[in-house]
């Protein structure tokens, strides 16, 4: 009836299945075997990592108050100097006079590598020998909207697929019962575009995870709470019987219809299995404490980090753990000391995550990526008490997944304003992360509107210096 002779186009269309492959894959087994078994593209070289956890510090953490120690800044506190301030430069094209502001936090060296970290992050600092600090980061966009989109999609304005979508397009899912790209409680400006598939097939779009109450996370429409599981089983049974009745009435069984039937089977399976992955209550008290879930100040981000580890174990390729939304984030234009509040909320959970991943051997093939959409200026904004955005030099750290540990790459000038050595553009970071996953950022392309598109546009270089 429909055993063979499917064109590639109709095959792709009809077997475009949701979280992972539907039975259409089995149905079209012989055809499908000609395709890479996991994703549409497959790896280009041997991967060093299988997945990424991105700890997104929305708002922009100040590098000179955290990981980029600048003794000169403390000494020259209050001095007036002329800077190419990114916002002023974008608006007026002119350099402006600014007042240097020392960090209110103390720094000290940690670990065998002896790298300096401020008092903001004592927990992360304990893991300094696992981290690779990128001090020479720079990016596009001076405001949150453009820079956040750039961070996620490699473009400040155009509608482009998010990095997690590219990764799933390239590699496919490791777990057919879960989405391959998850964003935990996303709230940043740019909305769904930050985890959207844009022109990539819809199955690669990120799935939003939301918290239903204080203990439990869920995916939209995962289940209904008014029916017992056995009642749902009966409902599915009725539906599938009707579906088979209807299928038999039709003169042909198009693969698309078979796939629709199969989608209910998969949904039913997910409905039973996914809640277990999302349920944190089975974790030991020791684990919960490690993530700071015992403390109201760290509970929220701790739960998200713990969920990230569980998703990581379950085979999700790209997990974004969001910190900060429209209310409450790292954006301290005034009142820099408020950074301490945010640092408190994330420090212990992240330290816990690193420790947990390491204990479980997951850090070997998981990259943890920590950072914001940009950094902050070493001078005060409008000579006040906060710092403005700084896309020209900031720090991001990576851990695990074949990245050098206890390492630092690049540096900013003596005041911590602009990257002067080992500068890594956001495109370069994207290229490097893809590289570790076995994907060549120049070959990971998708044809749309007459040309091949890629995450890094026509830019990006793999930063080989940080690869172990």
């Amino acid at each position: 009836m429909f055993e063979n002779s499917f064109s590639r186009r109709s095959m792709l269309r009809q077997s475009a299945c949701g979280f992972g492959g539907l039975a259409a894959n089995a149905l079209l087994g012989r055809v499908h075997s000609a395709m890479p078994s996991s994703g549409l593209v497959g790896t280009h070289h041997t991967p060093k990592a299988k997945r990424i956890i991105f700890l997104f510090m929305f708002g922009g953490v100040s590098q000179v108050d955290s990981f980029d120690y600048k003794p000169a800044l403390a000494k020259r506190h209050g001095e007036l100097l002329t800077f190419n301030d990114a916002r002023q430069l974008a608006k007026t094209g002119k350099a402006t006079e600014q007042k240097l502001m020392a960090s209110p936090w103390k720094f000290k060296p940690y670990g065998q590598s002896g790298r300096w970290v401020s008092d903001l992050f004592p927990g992360m600092a304990e893991h300094i020998d696992d981290l690779c600090l990128l001090h020479g980061m720079h990016t596009e966009g001076v405001a949150h909207g453009p820079a956040t989109l750039f961070l996620h999609c490699g473009s400040t304005n155009m509608t482009r697929p998010s990095m997690g979508s590219w990764v799933n397009y390239g590699l496919g899912s490791e777990n057919e019962n879960l989405p391959g790209f998850v964003s935990i409680t996303p709230k940043a400006p740019g909305g769904p575009r930050n985890y959207g598939a844009a022109f990539l097939p819809p199955k690669f779009q990120g799935t939003r995870m939301v918290s239903t109450n204080t203990e439990q996370f869920t995916i939209d429409n995962l289940s209904r709470n008014d029916l017992s599981i056995s009642a749902v089983a009966k409902q599915v049974d009725l539906l599938q019987r009707l579906n088979r009745n209807q299928l038999n009435r039709r003169s042909i069984h198009e693969a698309e219809l078979e796939a629709a039937l199969e989608s209910y089977e998969l949904a039913w399976k997910m409905q039973r299995l996914a809640p277990d992955v999302l349920d944190l209550s089975t974790e030991s008290k020791a684990t919960l404490n490690m993530y700071g879930i015992d403390d109201p100040a760290t509970k929220d981000y701790g739960q998200k980090c713990l969920l990230a580890r569980r998703l990581c174990e379950a085979g999700v390729r790209f997990i974004e753990v969001n910190y900060g939304g429209d209310t409450g984030n790292w954006d301290q234009h005034s009142d820099l000391p408020k950074h301490a509040e945010h640092a408190k909320a994330v420090d212990r959970p992240i330290a816990g995550l690193l420790m947990d991943l390491k204990q479980r051997g997951l850090l070997e093939d998981t990259i943890v990526w920590w950072g914001g959409e940009f950094g902050r200026t070493p001078y005060s904004e409008g000579k006040g008490t906060g710092r403005d955005h700084n896309p020209g030099g900031f720090t991001v750290w990576l851990a695990g997944g074949g990245i050098k540990a206890g390492f630092a790459h690049g540096e900013t000038d003596e005041l911590g304003f602009a990257g002067i050595d080992g500068r890594v553009h956001m495109h370069d970071l994207h290229a490097t992360l893809l590289h570790q996953l076995g994907l060549d950022h120049k070959k990971l392309t998708f044809k749309h509107a007459g040309r091949d598109f890629r995450l890094t546009d026509v830019h990006g270089h793999v930063v080989h210096d940080i690869i172990a």
């Binding site: 949701g18 974008a90 001076v142 909207g145 017992s228 009642a231 007459g450």
Partner: protein
Amino acid sequence: MMWSMEVLRSEFSMDSMSRALGRFAISILLVALCLIGPTKLWGQSAALREVENQNQFEKWVRPALTQYCLKCHSSDTESNGGLVLDSQYGWEKGGDSGTAIVPGRSDESLLIKAIRYDETKLQMPPDKKLPAEVVKVFEAWVNAGAHDPRGEGRRSDRSARNSPQEAASDYWSYKPLSVKVSAALSSVDGFVNQKLSEVELLAAPPAERRDQVRRLYLDLTGLPPSSEAIQAMLASSDFENDYRNLVEHLLSSPQYGESIARRWMDVVRYAESVTLRGLVFKEAWRYRDYLIKAFSQDRSFDQMICEQIAGDLLKNDDPNERYLQLVATTFMAIGDTNFEKQDKQQLEMDYVDEQLDVIGQAFLGQTIGCARCHDHKFDPISTRDYYAMAGILKSAVALRHANVSNWIDQPLPLPMNEEKRFGDLESQLQSVTKNLATKKKEMVAKPKKKGDSNSLDAEEQKETALLAEEVKQLEADQKQLQAQVDLRPKYLTIVEESLPKDIPIHVRGDVHNLGDVVPRGFLSAISIQPFDEIPAGASGRLELAKWILSPDNPLTARVYANRVWSWMLGQGLVESVSNFGTTGSVPSHPELLDWLATELIQNNWSTKHLIRLIVQSDAYRRKVAATNSFGFQLDPDNRYYSRGNQRRLTAEELRDSMLYASGELDLAMGGPLVRAETKSDTNYKHSSTRRSIYHPLFRNALPELLDTFDFPSPSMSVGQRPRSTVATQALVLMNSDWVRARAKAMAARLRSECEDTDPATWIEAAFQICFQRAPSIDELRTCLAFFESKQDLQFPDQLETLTHSLFASIDFRYLE
């Protein structure tokens, strides 16, 4: 002594000492120290100079180029910025910014400027400034004449290629519409059947009457028929005639305009908010209503093109027509703009780029955006063409700049009395505002009461209190007047305010790197007189529209005719419906396409005329059959239309059909649905039971179901929706509160409409409502068995579970 052996020897002798700095840096340093100036060379013989130049290049310049530059600037790897440095030809020709090296003049050479890090915009290598010694080497080499023994490099293979302009000019889509269409073939079936016989495929018989009627209803109105409508058609004694009448009936129904408008809204990336901060376009709905009205009354599509691009520049004394012309221009202003971008020059060009991208894809099937940074690599669109058109659009103002720039809502023209009323309100507001400012100034001038009340006498205190009272009153007045003034109807648009001007090429799309100024114009590959001339003082936007809609433009009618075909048949004759360039697909039936395009033009660009031609054809009405005799194996994608294509309901159709079945669908037309207090689209709760097209199309909060069922991204022009079958769809159909509520409402409807209360009656009625047919014996048995399992009291309502299952079943989602 410049390039003597002594230097080389000293390099080797230094070698062992150069641990910290590295051998190369030291050797460069030594050379640099030796390079006092080029004059010392002049005294030597030409032959010796040649050798020494070569030595200098090989020993110092080539390694430095290799180490620092060629990774990004060579024909083997990539040519960033269009610049290659692996040959003399490469740097002479230069990149997008021009010649890289001026021999003998380091200060004028871009390459030297870049490596000196003198300017913020041009710093190479980008990750780190070169060691000073290396910079000196390059300077000395350039000053000495930049001798480069590599010469021409690969110049020859580069210039051998034909330019895309030449190669594409004889591509099918740029050629005029073919006129020699034989009369005998002049119908959809004439062309389709001829192709079928050529490829020796048999045509499938017509679909069952019921399926034909369902298909027609969904395609022309986006809603299923009533079971009565089906019964009438099944009973027809002259089905052909009644089918034709049904086509006319549906084409004139109000739902037709909604259904076709929605398809066009995909193409024009219609939305009512931007993703940035969820800012809401409160006036965008007027454009949606324009489209519904225009398609309903079968407005000429060429007129619609003109109105959407340049309606503001047209004229009409009829206020209703003028209204339509104005609100049509919202088309130009609903992109998903990042208004917060701080580089406002860049923001303006991004805005224009987005407009060009949509205009190019929607009307011309061209990917014009590719030419923003470089000449189109495949199609005859040069960067000059791009900036010629960009200049036209840049002549209109679309943004008022602020930290988050504002879009433009213009006041709509009103009847005289209304115009006067708002005029009065405006002037009252102005005078109150002025008055308020004066009073506030007085307040500030008053001495402040600082705890020590004795310092102010009672009189002064009284005056101050009075003044404060006045200010308070004025502020209240101002607020109240402003609220009234805000009620004046506005529309979202762009405006031409200042004199139009030509703009320069933006080298590699960079607003801060400007090249030649280009006169405003259109695609040079398609020259149509007299529209190529832009009158003095005009921006050219109206001329651009006229150039697009000219019957002599070979692209426009083809692209639109193909779209209409794809709306009815599920796929285009040209599969890449928005890309008619050389990277797109070629037509499966070129003559049919040209015939349809010609029919369109000759029939006053009537969309309904095209639809009639298509839906009355046998090709459209065939059975969805898959036996090999109908080409399932030979033509799996059904490119020859030997059988019907399986049609599935779009997200909106699925949603509307559920509301229809539950009896809740509200068929009211038009008007805004966004609740007045809405500041941001985030977490917007959609609550209406109107058709999906009327729901606020919020980019951060699409109505239920839409997102999951392949609704296209409203941030970009989409010609063909994706078609996915994913588990999330199943989850939504089984678990979403919205679907459950519809199932519940339908159960209630069945209970109130059915006289008998036995399950068999309900089942019969439910099947009629959902599928316009009776249940088969198997289906009836399945459903009854479910009801009979009475011992199962887990369901709050078994009837609701049944209606819910019918919504989720394949017959509800896929037409036969």
